[in-house]
């Protein structure tokens, strides 16, 4: 089943009098359960494409479909609802709320989706166990290492059982060991839960984990390769 469908998407930024074409007409289809890497040099459009798929930004032209729903026509609140119910995010910086504990950070999407307390507790503990952080549940982000913070972010991204997880350079700020650990967790969860992962990276070690590699260059897809 097609989770993401991108039809001729272009994104033009106007900064002063300068027009920057971040995407120039991208077509892409991602199937359920894929573990896809978006690769390419800086400025190739990886992050912009992820933002289009994640309903964080809207294309200048073209259409984006998530689970066969056209998300380009949604208003601000509808896009927030779409993100809350369907999409999980992992960012390059360890995007946790600094005042909340690991447990509470993972809890946030569940609260926003109105899950009952008992259900929330069960799900959070299950996810913290999956990322091997059960003993760190009550620690705040500043008491966790970078790798641990990114694992909390992975757990949070999965909390609401989304169909799609978008990760923007998830290992860029991690050392090799922690980077590998995060990628292995993501890969394992992809296999176990069947959730679709799309991640932007230019780290060759990370690319090796991908089952499909989409290469972008100057806002266009240059190559689309199934690796296994």
């Amino acid at each position: 089943m097609e989770v993401v469908k991108i039809e001729n998407v272009a994104r033009v930024y106007q900064i002063g009098k300068v027009e920057t074409k971040a995407l120039r007409g991208v077509n892409l289809s991602i199937e359920n359960g894929e573990f896809t890497a978006l690769v390419g040099p800086s400025g190739s459009g990886k992050t912009t494409l992820l933002q289009m798929i994640g309903c964080l930004d809207q294309p200048t032209t073209g259409k984006v479909f998530i689970n066969n729903k056209d998300v380009t026509s949604l208003n601000r609140n509808q896009r927030a609802d779409m993100r809350r119910g369907t999409i999980g995010f992992i960012f390059q910086f360890f995007a946790l709320i600094p005042t909340l504990t690991a447990y509470e950070n993972v809890e946030m999407p569940l609260l926003l989706n109105g899950h009952a307390p008992a259900e929330r507790r069960e799900r959070i503990m299950e996810l913290l166990k999956a990322v091997d952080l059960t003993d760190r549940a009550n620690n705040r982000p500043d008491q966790l290492s970078g790798g641990q913070q990114q694992r909390v972010a992975v757990a949070r991204a999965l909390a609401s059982k989304p169909t799609l997880i978008l990760a923007d350079e998830p290992t860029a700020n991690l050392d090799t060991t922690n980077g590998q650990q995060v990628m292995e967790i993501m890969k394992r969860l992809n296999k176990e839960t069947g959730v679709t992962f799309i991640f932007a990276t230019h780290d060759p070690r990370v690319i090796n984990y991908a089952s499909r590699v989409v290469t972008l260059q100057d806002g266009l897809i240059e190559k689309d390769t199934q690796t296994r």
């Binding site: 964080l56 601000r76 927030a80 993100r83 809350r84 709320i97 005042t99």
Partner: protein, 406 residues
């Protein structure tokens, strides 16, 4: 909702010093409002209280033709058989004291100095004259049969260099338009701490005043003090004035004070606005800084699907918490400063306001009503000041917010 409140509380705790000083700004604003309003209330209340106790009483009964401003001594403008009328009124349960008074004007002179005075003929035994009796600072109070003694206020005594026991010449207007002069002995010097009154009022026993002004068995007014000011209207209605007399209440006789209070309140409203505007700008500034510092977090919350309204709720919760903390601190600070102002007072001396009996010391007086109204005013203003920063946070584009530096 609980999570939002928890986040808001912890966000305030993240920069404790800034949050504390913001709450302190609210507290100082509220304390100033309490102090300002209590000083005005104290001043106006004291002016009214002085006017009632010293000058107007709660109710007066006068001849229908009597004009207070002229202090007429014509028999037709006076109350005849005033003792009889006063004793009838004094028999009412709600009445604390009812006593005849005779007003005249004249000149007090020593060797080479003189001063215009208003002369009060009073019954020295009446409880209505306790403020003068209690205010004796030198010499003694009058007795009903004293034929030579008078009481003089402290400012007039200082001006004319007089002491208890000194002799002084008093020229008095009489009922038939003549002026009579007689030498009196300063029996005592009094103070009511009301410069305007003390500087221009001398007291004689009623009988002596009637004799010197040739107004036998007549008085300008029956001065009535009630057990409680709130009883005024009902007592005034229940008193049936004998033919040719009129009943006047303190409201009618002190319209200047009530008008002055209305004017003062409108000026005070302006000061309230200035204080609130300063408080509001401090809170807006704090919350806007907080929004900018947490731009990326706002982006994260938006990315995980938090709607703008909830983000707005988060920041509004912070302003509610600042408001609660600030108001609680402000109540403590305000009550303490009002208490200090109340027990120590603030000496202002002679304000020089004609027609009003302003005490020489301002004492703050705060009512529960006023405390509640300024507290609500400060609380609402603080919460409203959170609206703009909260709206700003809720309108941030997630992409832009996520791009912000941490």
């Amino acid at each position: 909702m609980l999570q939002i409140l928890r986040m808001a509380f912890r966000d305030l705790g993240r920069n404790r010093r800034r949050s504390f000083f913001s709450a302190l700004a609210v507290a100082i604003g509220l304390a100033l409002l309490m102090l300002l309003s209590s000083v005005i209330q104290g001043e106006m209340g004291s002016a009214l209280e002085s006017a009632i106790q010293l000058q107007s009483g709660h109710i007066q009964i006068q001849a229908a033709s009597y004009d207070e401003n002229k202090s007429s001594l014509k028999w037709e403008d006076l109350v005849e058989n005033p003792d009889r009328v006063a004793s009838q009124i004094a028999a009412l349960d709600q009445v604390k004291a009812a006593t005849p008074r005779l007003f005249s004007s004249g000149f007090l002179s020593t060797g080479d100095e003189s001063s215009g005075v208003r002369i009060y003929g009073i019954d020295p035994q009446s409880a209505a004259n306790d403020p003068y009796r209690d205010g004796i600072i030198s010499g003694s109070f009058l007795t009903a049969d004293d034929r030579e003694g008078l009481l003089i206020g402290q400012p007039a005594a200082l001006k004319l260099h007089l002491q208890a026991g000194d002799k002084v010449s008093l020229s008095v207007n009489t009922s038939n338009g003549d002026v009579l002069e007689q030498t009196f002995i300063i029996r005592g010097i009094y103070t009511t701490n009301t410069y305007g009154f003390d500087g221009s009022t001398v007291f004689l026993p009623l009988a002596k005043a009637q004799a010197i002004t040739q107004t036998e068995n007549h008085a300008s007014t029956i001065f009535i003090l009630l057990k409680d000011t709130s009883l005024t209207a009902s007592v005034a209605n229940s008193i049936k004035a004998p033919a040719g007399l009129q009943v006047k209440t303190w409201e009618e006789m002190n319209s200047l004070i009530t008008e002055f209070e209305t004017t003062a309140n409108s000026y005070i409203g302006f000061f309230y606005l200035i204080i609130l505007a300063i408080t509001v700008s401090v809170i807006i500034n704090t919350l806007i800084m907080s929004v900018y510092e947490r731009t990326r977090e706002i982006g994260i919350l938006a990315a995980i699907g938090m709607r703008g309204a909830r983000i707005m709720g988060l920041f509004l919760s912070e302003s509610v918490m600042l408001a609660i903390g600030g108001v609680l601190m402000g109540l403590v600070l305000g009550l303490f400063s009002v208490y200090l102002f109340n027990i120590r007072g603030f000496y202002i001396g002679n304000m020089g306001l004609n027609g009003m009996l302003i005490s020489d010391t301002i004492r703050a007086r705060l009512t529960v009503d006023k405390t509640i109204s300024v507290t609500i005013m400060t609380f609402v203003a603080t919460i409203l000041s959170g609206l703009y920063p909260a709206w700003m946070a809720s309108r941030m584009e997630p992409v832009e917010a996520l791009r912000a530096e941490k």
